[in-house]
Symmetry: C2
Subunit: 380 residues, 2 copies
C-alpha cells in the first residue's frame, strides 16, 4: 500500500495524497469515524456518506464479544453485516483488552481476558487477532501490540515495546501465511510504541519499517500523557517512517490536535470525540466547541453554523437542538453527530486543499487565530 | 374542509379521498405519525418524507410544557421550529392532562394542572387551547374536550359529554373570532364523546355536526374498553357524520384496527404504536409483528421483509438489527421506526388503492388471512 499522488507542504511536513483499497479510494489526510460495535453511534451508512466519511473504523474487541465472529462470518464480513460499502480499518483488539480492564493474564503468547458482557473467557494473540480481522474482512488490519500504559519508566517502556515488536512480527508472518476470506484485499499496518521516550520511538519505528508493513501507526499516545509529549513523539516518529506509505495516529483527537499532527506529516486519524461529544450536546464550530444545551441557546432560531452545509445546519436551529436535548429526544443524538462528523471531515478536507495549494501554514494560522482553545479546553 | 375526490367502496363504508391544506394535500385514508415533543421519536423530517408520511401530529400538552409557547412563537410556529414542511395536526392538550394524572382541578371553565417537568401550574380551557394551537400553527386544530374515562356509568358519560359539548362550542366560537398567526389556513375539528354508549355517541355526533366543524374526530376510544366497543361505536358514529368531511379516529391503533375502522368509513388515524414498538424491537410485517430481538434472528442474514422497500429492509438484515438492539446502539431505534412507520403507510396506501379499484373487501380478507392476530396479541 502506498500513498499516491503525494504532495508535501514546502514549509511543514504536511502531506496530501490518496490510498487505494478495494472498497474505494481514500483522500488524505483523513479522519475515520469510529464504528465501535458495528455502527458509528447514531449514524447510518447513508449519514456517513453524506457527511463525507471515506473510511470507518471497527473495534475487534467489541465485535468479538458481540455479535461474535460466527455471525460476522456467516454475514459475509463486517462490510455486509453493517451495510457499509466503503473501506474499513479494524484495530487488533489489544487496546480495549488493556484499557477496559478485564485482563486476566498476559504472557509471551498473548492475553486472556473476560467478556464484560457475559463473563466468558477469551484469548487474544497475534495469530488470533489476525484470524479475527480476516473474518471481519477489514481493508486495513492492525498488528497486535501492547499499548504501553502511561506513565511507564524507560525500562517498562522498553520491555513493553520489545514484546510489541515480537507480537507484531508474529502478526506479519501469520497474516502473510493466510488469505482474505471475501475476495477483497486486506493490508496490514504496524504500530510504533515506546511511550514518551523519543529514542525508544525511533528504535520502534526503524524496527517496524525493517519488518515491512503496508502502513504505520503511532500507538500509545493520547493515553494520559501531557500534550507536548504527543506532539514531540509524533514529530520524531514521522521523521523515521517511509515517505510513500500511510501514517496513522491512533485515537487522536481534538480538532487542534489534528491540525498539529497533519503539520507533522500524519495522514490518518480516528477518535470517538466527535460522536461522543455530540451525544453530550457539545458541537464543533470553527470558533470552537459550543454547548447547545446552554440556556442562552433556547431562543436562538439560527443554525449552529449558518455557513455549514450539513443536514443539521441546513434544517435545524440551535433552539430546536437545545429543546431536543432537554427532552432527551433520540433524534438529536443523530443530528449532533452528523454535524460533528461533518465538521471533522471539513477540517480534514480544508487541510488537504490547503496542502494541495501550498497554503497549509496559512490554513493552520487561520485555524488557530479563530478556534477558541480555552473554550475547547473547558468543553471537550 | 372537505374530502375531495371521494370514492366509496360499494360493499363497505370504506372511503378514499383527499384533504387539502396549505402545507400540501393528504390522500386518505391516512396514518399520522405522532411527533409528541416536536419530533417523531428518532425520525427526522427527511425520514418521515421517505417513509411516506403526509401529515404528522404534535402534542399541545408536551409542547406547552417544553419548550413553551414563547419559543415556538419566536421560531415562527411548529412547522419552522421542527423543520417539517408538510401538514401538522395538533391535539387540544386535554387528553394528556387527564391521562398523565397531574390534574389539579376541573371546573366549568377548564382545568388546572401541574407540569411534570418542573411542577409549575398551568391552566387549560377551550380558549387557551385555541390560542396555543394558533401559536403552534397546526393545519388542523382539535377542539378542547374531556376524554371520558373508561369505565363510566351512563350518567357519568352523559355529564362528561355535555361538558365536552359546551367546551367544544366555546372552542369553535373562540377559534372563529381569532386569526392564524403565520399566513397559512387552520381548520378546526370537533370531537365526538359519549363513552361506550351508542345512544350518547349518536347524540354527540349530531350536536357537533349541528355546530359545524371542518372535520370530526371520534375521541375516548382505545382507552381500555373491549375491542368490540371500539368497533361498534366507530360504526355508529360514522353513520351520523357528514359524508363529505374528514373523520378521524383518535389514538387508534394496531394494523388490524386500522383495517376494520377504514371499513367503517374512517379517514384519519394516529397512534404511537409503530414508533413505540419499534423502540422495543417489535417490527410489523404482513404476517404479523416480529420481535427482532429474539434469539432465532441472530444469524438470519435476510431483511425483515424482502419485499419491503424501506431504507431498513433495503440495507439491513434481521441479524444486524438484533445485534444493534442487544448492543443498545442508537441507530436501531431509527431503523426500526423507519420500517414500522413505512409499514403503516403501506397498509394505508394499500387500502386506498383497493378502495379506488373497488377491491377493498378482498384487501381486507387477504389482510386477515395473512396477518397473525394471535402473534399480534402476544407481541404488541
Amino acid at each position: 500500500m502506498h500513498i499516491e499522488n503525494l504532495k508535501t507542504c514546502p514549509e511543514t511536513k504536511a502531506r496530501a495524497g490518496a490510498i487505494r483499497t478495494d472498497h474505494g479510494q481514500i483522500n488524505t489526510p483523513v479522519f475515520m469515524p469510529v464504528g465501535t460495535a458495528g455502527s458509528v453511534k447514531s449514524l447510518s451508512p447513508d449519514d456517513l456518506m453524506a457527511t463525507g466519511s471515506q473510511i470507518i473504523l471497527g473495534n475487534t474487541y467489541h465485535l468479538l464479544l458481540r455479535p461474535g465472529m460466527d455471525i460476522i462470518q456467516s454475514a459475509g464480513g463486517l462490510h455486509k453485516f453493517m451495510s457499509w460499502k466503503g473501506p474499513i480499518l479494524t484495530d487488533s483488539g489489544g487496546y480495549q483488552v488493556f484499557s477496559l480492564g478485564q485482563l486476566n493474564k498476559i504472557t509471551e503468547d498473548g492475553v486472556v481476558f473476560q467478556s464484560r458482557i457475559d463473563g466468558s473467557k477469551h484469548a487474544l494473540s497475534a495469530e488470533i487477532s489476525m484470524d479475527i480481522q480476516r473474518v471481519l474482512g477489514s481493508d486495513i488490519v492492525m498488528a497486535f501490540d501492547e499499548c504501553t500504559p502511561y506513565p511507564a519508566t524507560p525500562e517498562q517502556a522498553q520491555r513493553s515495546m520489545e514484546l510489541t515488536h515480537r507480537w507484531e512480527k508474529r502478526s506479519l508472518d501469520y497474516f502473510r501465511s493466510t488469505q482474505p476470506l471475501y475476495g477483497h484485499k486486506q493490508e496490514l499496518f504496524g504500530i510504533v510504541q515506546g511511550s514518551v521516550y523519543p529514542d525508544l520511538r525511533k528504535i520502534s519505528a526503524s524496527i517496524l519499517v525493517e519488518m515491512g508493513f503496508d502502513g504505520y501507526a503511532i500507538g500509545g499516545l493520547s493515553v494520559g500523557e501531557p500534550k507536548e509529549h504527543m506532539y514531540e513523539i509524533t514529530d520524531v516518529v514521522t521523521d523515521v517512517l517511509p515517505v510513500n506509505q500511510p501514517r496513522y495516529l491512533m485515537g487522536v483527537g481534538k480538532p487542534e490536535d489534528l491540525v498539529h499532527a497533519v503539520g507533522m506529516g500524519v495522514d490518518m486519524f480516528d477518535c470517538v470525540l466527535p460522536t461522543r461529544n455530540a451525544r453530550h450536546g457539545i458541537m464543533f464550530t470553527w470558533d470552537g466547541p459550543v454547548s447547545v444545551k446552554a440556556a442562552r441557546e433556547k431562543d436562538v432560531h439560527e443554525p449552529l453554523d449558518s455557513n455549514c452545509d450539513c443536514y443539521t445546519c441546513q434544517n435545524f436551529s440551535r433552539a430546536y437542538l437545545r429543546h431536543l436535548f432537554k427532552a432527551s429526544e433520540l433524534l438529536v443524538y443523530r443530528l449532533a453527530s452528523i454535524h460533528n462528523i461533518h465538521f471533522y471531515h471539513e477540517l480534514m478536507s480544508g487541510m488537504r486543499q490547503a496542502i494541495l495549494e501550498d497554503e497549509f501554514p496559512m490554513f493552520k494560522n487561520d485555524f488557530f487565530n479563530r478556534y477558541d482553545l480555552k473554550r475547547a479546553k473547558d468543553k471537550v
